[in-house]
């Protein structure tokens, strides 16, 4: 007998499979997704016109076509993208081949796998909810397949109940079951995804590209108070060597073991920093990191480097102190930070001479230079004109309008000409406070470049020429860049009230706070975190873990079984509750109360045994009988019974 799946079952199945595969449209090549969609629509059409379904030969040819497409797109079956593509194409082909119940099961299980592959691309809470929802529909497909009289809504309800019942178990397994981590997902890791962010080289315009990107870079939760906005400099790579246009990080070889630990004064800030996936394994600590947990090291440029896969989200415990003194520098370092390409032009030398005093005091020169930026009609702009050759001179003498990287590079260049060791530091500045979660969100738009000069007795000192031009960007924690870009503000007289947040912004902050905690507690729960958590529970070895797992699963199973098997207890009759109290009092008086006794029988026996109580026993029994068995009970009876039982003394 040919297997004829019901229309409802087919619609359920095709609907849920379509929903499950839908998010893959953004990940897998359009050709493969198109192939899958074609198969799905063909099968959907076949629900009403079974004669149009392909025969065995056509399915075989389609399979060959699918393999061809797969190979042309991926050239492999290994790796995340190729594997996902394979599953999606296979699912599409299998849809055209439903000959029995078994095929329905295969398709549903395959769809569950495709649902899981979604998490290789996206781990957000929204995607998790979506997949959970769609899995509910898929589960309803299985329920429809196995019920005598399938109905849509009850099937969905049952699947929702099943998922709810399984959640505690999932939670226990999530927390206790050993986390399996492929070493950096080596064969699944497709590095095709281009990630934006700071890079090893700095060109004057490079940071401007980031300035409009709202992409999250990291989030910081401080244990105590937040540092003032002017101190929120998140240190990234240092750019020291230049050819006049590009700035490069100096070689870090030989500086792995930083010899001079900076001297810190003042209070330190303790915080938790959660890095989003990056292309570099840099960790942007608040200047200047004093303590950092394992897995991190500080290179000679005071930058924190992680030994984890930068493609994974990771959380770090850090401590930073804004007051520091890095001490002296070596000859190599001094030479490196005085390097200028070729001879400076006459205009530059003239400018430096102008700003220098006779004793050539560095502090005074720096002060004069910042004053120069402030007074000589310099502007801050997001879209500076391109300055292909001699960008520094063009910027200093002609355009006088630039982005933070222009100011930082020009500043450092002038300092070097004035024989002051200086370098450009990249990183992020500021960040937006999420008032719901109480943490700072730092986005790509917060990317910044500033300068560092080495001063005798003070070590490396941070100078931010941008602050001299556009103090709003630094001081007020306002994302001026985005404001300018969106045309919301004209730069000069900025009147922004950061505290007036609309409900929309509040909602957004709430959502970001939820997302932060999701990332922090769910996504970030890896082997290391699990080990730490389990040790805090006192679980040190696998035997103990096994016991814990066994006990928790048995406990949850027991609770579920008890809820399932216990007889449906109706709401207790309040009269009966009172009468039971009365019976308890009677049995305390030595009058045996048998389960098989009716109230009248009991009352007679009790009155016979205790003639002194006969009257109250009779009254209580009469009211109870009226409440429980008669049609003519009054609403006041219950209250009377309550009083009588309460005052009944044996």
């Amino acid at each position: 007998m040919p297997f004829l799946p019901s229309t409802r079952l087919m619609l359920f199945m095709l609907g849920s499979i379509g929903l499950i595969t839908l998010p893959h449209a953004w990940h897998i090549p359009p050709v493969l997704f198109g192939f899958f969609t074609l198969m799905l629509l063909w099968r959907l059409f076949g629900v009403w016109r079974p004669s149009y379904l392909p025969n065995r030969l056509t399915v075989f040819l389609l399979m060959l076509a699918g393999i061809g497409l797969l190979y042309s797109q991926q050239h492999s079956v290994f790796g995340r993208d190729a594997g996902t593509g394979l599953f999606v194409v296979a699912l599409g082909l299998k849809l055209l081949e439903i000959h029995g119940k078994r095929d329905v099961y295969v398709i549903v299980y395959l769809a569950f796998i495709v649902a899981v592959t979604q998490f290789l691309y996206e781990e957000s809470i929204l995607m998790a909810l979506y997949i959970l929802l769609v899995c509910g529909v898929l589960l309803a497909t299985l329920i429809t397949q196995n019920s005598q009289a399938p109905q849509t809504l009850p099937a969905l309800k049952t699947s929702a109940a099943l998922i709810l019942q399984s959640l505690p178990l999932a939670l226990v397994l999530f927390v206790l079951f050993p986390r399996l981590e492929a070493p950096h997902w080596s064969w699944l890791d497709d590095d095709t995804q281009a990630r934006s962010g700071l890079s090893n080289t700095l060109e004057p315009g490079s940071i401007a590209e980031l300035s409009l990107s709202p992409e999250l870079v990291f989030r910081v939760k401080f244990d105590g108070e937040l540092p003032p906005p002017a101190q929120r400099y998140w240190r990234g790579p240092v750019y020291a060597s230049t050819d006049g246009v590009r700035w490069r990080a100096p070689p870090v070889l030989g500086r792995e073991n930083n010899p001079d630990q900076p001297a810190f004064t003042g209070t330190a800030y303790d915080y938790t920093l959660m890095m989003e996936p990056q292309k570099q394994n840099w960790v942007f600590a608040l200047e200047m990191p004093t303590q950092f947990a394992g897995g991190l090291r500080r290179n000679g440029l005071y930058q924190l480097i992680s030994n984890k896969n930068p493609g994974d989200r990771a959380e770090y415990r850090l401590s930073s102190s804004p007051a520091y003194n890095t001490g002296g520098i070596s000859k190599t370092e001094r030479r490196e930070n005085l390097q200028v390409p070729g001879k400076p032009s006459v205009r530059i030398v003239e400018l430096v001479r102008q700003l220098q005093d006779k004793q050539a005091r560095p502090e005074l020169f720096i002060g004069n230079l910042l004053q120069h930026f402030r007074q000589e009609n310099f502007h801050y702009t997001l879209s500076p004109d391109p300055m292909p050759d001699q960008p520094i001179e063009t910027f200093l003498f002609e355009r006088r309008a630039g982005f933070c990287s222009h100011y930082a590079t020009a500043f450092v260049y002038l300092l070097r000409v004035a024989e002051i060791p200086a370098r450009v530091v990249g990183g992020y500045q500021g960040g937006q406070i999420n008032e719901v979660g109480g943490f700072l969100e730092i986005r790509q738009a917060d990317a910044h470049a500033w300068a560092e000069a080495w001063l005798e007795g003070r070590g490396w000192v941070r100078f931010d020429p941008t602050a001299a031009i556009a103090p709003e960007r630094i001081e007020r924690g306002v994302n001026v860049d985005l404001q300018i870009a969106s045309g919301a503000v004209n730069f000069s007289p900025v009147q922004l009230d950061a505290k007036t947040l609309s409900w929309l912004q509040r909602g957004r902050q709430l959502w970001q706070s939820v997302d932060y905690n999701w990332q922090r507690w769910i996504i970030n729960y890896d082997t290391v975190n699990q080990k730490a958590f389990l040790q805090s529970l006192g679980i040190n070895d696998f035997v103990k873990l096994g016991y814990w797992l066994l006990i928790s699963i048995a406990g949850i199973g027991g609770i579920l079984a008890w809820r399932l098997l216990r007889p449906n207890r109706r709401r207790q009759d309040p009269a009966l509750v009172l009468y039971r109290q009365f019976c308890a009092k009677l049995s305390k008086a030595g009058i045996e109360v048998d389960a098989g006794d009716g109230p009248k029988t009991l009352a007679e026996r009790a009155a016979h045994r205790r003639p002194d109580l006969a009257e109250s026993i009779g009254r209580i029994t009469a009211i109870f009988i009226r409440l429980r068995y008669q049609a003519d009970s009054k609403t006041s009876d219950l209250q009377v019974l309550k009083t009588l039982v309460a005052s009944f003394r044996v």
């Binding site: 009966l576 389960a595 009988i625 068995y629």
Partner: protein
């Protein structure tokens, strides 16, 4: 009306001495529109009881003595050829009376038994394709000798189930027997009995019994009893839904005799031995002993 019932019970108790509970149950059975099976050895007053009740209720009374050679036609009647009119005419049998005493029902063959029992259930008789309704009210009191006596055809379970109640009379007490021995012959007394209830009064009482209030709590208890009888290992087979209906009807009538407007658990307990005893196949005839585990183990509240 209540007074009439009291009067009736008092009068009956004067004829059948020392058997108040049984008389009360018999009256209850009649008010619940059920049939009564009396099981006992010969000579303890089965016939007297039924005769007394018929008299007091003012019902047409007919006694049918069941023997091993009685035929169905002897009970329901038969068509006889009328030579004058040249056609068959139906001669109704003794069953066309309001109250039937089917004496020693288990002496008759199953065929004759089933003729009576079908009439009891359907309250009509079908002979040669024509249906004749039985009079209203229709009440059968069947007597049965204990099954171990010689020459009996025990009623099958399905037919015993048609009787709402089965009661036993038992030997009279010493004092009651002395009164019996020293008093007037019973048949003389019965003939002197006045009719205690008019036919419409009986119909009214039956209606009132059906309308006694039953609370959900009482139905809980009744269902617990039914469920217990079906699950317990003490009984080979549990109580049927018909038994449940009968139990409820009997308990309502019992409450009415007690002049109450609602059924109490005690009413169910009172009628339980008589209603359930013959339906639970245990192997003993002692109804009280049969239902004792139910009364003991099923919680009332």
């Amino acid at each position: 009306m209540d007074l009439a019932l009291d009067r009736l019970l008092t009068a009956a108790n004067q004829i059948i001495l020392g058997k108040q509970p049984q008389i009360r149950l018999a009256v209850c059975c009649l008010l619940a529109r059920g049939h009564l099976l009396i099981e006992d050895i010969p000579g303890v007053g089965k016939t007297t009881l039924s005769h007394t009740l018929a008299r007091l209720f003012g019902l047409d009374y007919q006694r049918i003595q069941f023997t091993s050679d009685i035929l169905p036609a002897d009970i329901v009647g038969s068509s006889v050829f009328d030579a004058h009119q040249q056609l068959f005419s139906f001669h109704p049998g003794p069953i066309f009376k309001q109250m039937i005493l089917a004496d020693e029902i288990n002496r008759a063959t199953p065929k004759a038994q089933s003729a009576l029992l079908e009439a009891m259930e359907e309250r009509q008789v079908t002979v040669e394709g024509r249906t004749y309704p039985l009079p209203q009210p229709f009440f059968v009191i069947a007597t049965q000798n204990p099954a171990h006596q010689i020459g009996t055809f025990p009623l099958p379970e399905s037919q015993v189930d048609r009787f709402l109640m089965r009661i036993e009379l038992g030997y009279p007490s010493r004092q009651a027997e002395r009164e019996l021995l020293s008093g007037q012959p019973r048949h003389v007394l019965i003939d002197q009995l006045p009719v205690a209830l008019l036919p419409e009064q009986l119909a009214g009482l039956q209606q009132a019994a059906a309308e006694v209030h039953v609370s959900p709590a009482l139905l809980d208890y009744l269902q617990a009893i039914l469920a217990f009888s079906r699950q317990s290992n003490d009984f080979a087979s549990g109580l049927s839904p018909r038994a449940g209906l009968g139990l409820l009807a009997a308990a309502k009538a019992w409450a009415l005799i007690d002049k109450r407007k609602a059924v109490l658990p005690e009413d169910l307990q009172a009628v339980l031995p008589a209603v359930a005893g013959h339906r639970l196949n245990v192997g003993t005839n002692d109804s009280v002993a049969i239902v004792a585990p139910i009364l003991k183990h099923v919680p009332v509240l």
